[in-house]
């Protein structure tokens, strides 16, 4: 079962997921669940690729224009629900 999406946490692309660039954005394939997701905006693909370099999803969304933030947040929540993005390990647990 997938944990609830928490924008206050850091997330990253699931290592089991491959992103293939497409003219509309990207195709994400999850090798574990064998599910495909269409990411239908190049900006969203960029956001997902760079997600791991931010401390939280909210931080990552700071670069998104105000009016678009909710849409991108819902998109990331959908990707988290399908395990395409996963929470980053707690930094305090890292060596």
């Amino acid at each position: 079962m997938t944990a609830p999406f928490e924008p206050g946490r850091g997330y990253r692309l699931n290592p089991d997921v491959a992103l293939r660039p497409e003219p509309f954005g990207a195709l994400a394939y999850h090798f574990g669940t064998r599910r495909l997701s269409f990411l239908k905006a190049p900006d969203l693909v960029e956001l997902v690729r760079g997600l791991g370099s931010h401390r939280s999803v909210s931080d990552a969304l700071a670069a998104v224009p105000d009016g678009r933030r909710d849409v991108y947040l819902r998109a990331l929540a959908a990707l988290a629900a399908s395990d395409m993005i996963v929470p980053q390990p707690d930094r305090s647990e890292m060596p």
Binding site: G25, R35, S37, K40, L44, Y72, R74, A75, S82
Partner: protein, 49 residues
């Protein structure tokens, strides 16, 4: 002698003001949500992979 006992001081045509004071879009279904992510399962598509 007749007196005008009408209590309604509203000007003629006031009946056509229905809707004034309502916020635009109140009670309307939400704008179609833009979906940036669509999911597809390829389970059962034998021979594709």
């Amino acid at each position: 002698m007749q007196q005008d006992t009408r209590a309604d001081p509203s000007p003629a045509g006031a009946d056509h003001d229905l809707g004034l004071g309502q916020e635009p879009g109140t009670g309307e279904p939400g704008i179609t949500e833009e979906l940036l992510v669509e999911e597809v399962s390829i389970d059962g598509m034998c021979g594709v992979y």
